[in-house]
Symmetry: C2
Subunit: 180 residues, 2 copies
DNA sequence: ACCGTAACCGAACATGCTGTTCGAAAGCGA
DNA sequence: TCGCTTTCGAACAGCATGTTCGGTTACGGT
């Protein structure tokens, strides 16, 4: 009666320990200043065990924000696709997600969200509006703005609430959406 | 009759060769896949010579976009500070600069411009407008949007002209500026 | 409770990169 | 031409990486 895919408790514990150790160390010293050895020591995991699970440090790091991304993806989809619905809600979900996973966001940053948010913007623009400007440009503009502010918010240690942030972004975005 | 600071031709040649080699290699393989040895080989420079000029690979890399930044800084200042002046002009300068240094921009990316542009935005917002929203948030929003689109434009191989890009950004920005 | 299997351990190893040192050779500006 | 600075290249220690393998431990299923 294990969950699908990972039946063995040892595997779960090992991977969790490694991810947790990497995140901690990256927050402390920054990604470049962390070696595989450091992670092994912090996680108290054998060397060969590490390489049985991950090809290298980058792969482990990637797995950290793959988890994050899947998580956020689920929450976004759980919102349903009613058109139009509350336009602040999806933004709130994003900011609340970051707020709930502060530690990990601090470590992995926000750039990995860019492609995902870019795609959402693109779709939204294609199905809803007719633009005078190229879709890619407009999508990139808004995706970068959102992700940028999100990253700033994380680095600045969350000086405002998630709801406030969502509302601010909303206000900043509406203007230029009508312009395009 | 040498320029100030670097009188010796050998120094100029060595540093230029190293920077050029690094940029080439980064474009080919990406930053992480380039070693100091690779740079030395490509530039045909002795190992000890490298470390006589730069502490490590990161320092050499940094020197690449310090040059870029100073260059852009000069061009921006050369515009003068007339208020308000043509609002598209400063944007054009940025996009033309990137267009003129394609190779280097491809290698070093655009993130290093972020702080500089953020500061410009901040100043502009402080002196000109009264906002209902926090300055940092608004500045970060627009700086990220601009830098993001700039980066996209570089990665997409400059599908539009610098002037077009500047005008598009302008249009996208005006709307949300009035909103804030 | 037991058993077969899969995961973990840890030491050892080859490999490759890093950053430093130093004496000799070469290039520069004056 | 002269004196000084730069460059060269080889050698070296140190460290991180990724792999191997035999022995040990913990898990899930029955």
């Amino acid at each position: 009666m294990g969950r699908r895919g990972m039946e063995d408790r040892r595997v779960r514990r090992t991977r969790a320990a490694l991810r947790h150790a990497l995140v901690e160390l990256v927050v402390e010293r920054g990604y470049d200043r962390v070696t595989v050895r450091d992670v092994l020591e912090r996680a108290d995991i054998g060397r060969s065990t590490f390489y049985a699970h991950f090809r290298d440090k980058d792969t482990l790091f990637a797995s950290c924000f793959e988890d994050l991304r899947d998580d956020l993806d689920r929450e976004m989809n759980a919102l349903g696709h009613e058109r139009p619905g509350d336009p602040v809600k999806p933004l709130s979900v994003i900011f609340e997600h970051a707020h709930r996973h502060q530690q990990v966001y601090r470590a992995v940053g926000t750039t990995h969200l860019h492609p995902m948010i870019f795609e959402v913007m693109r779709e939204h623009l294609c199905t809803h509006d007719e633009l005078r400007l190229p879709v890619d440009v407009v999508a990139e503009y808004h995706a970068s703005a959102l992700v940028g502010v999100l990253g700033w918010w994380v680095r600045a240690d969350f000086p405002y609430g998630p709801g406030e942030m969502a509302r601010m972004i909303r206000e900043l975005t509406v203007g230029s959406v009508t312009a395009a």
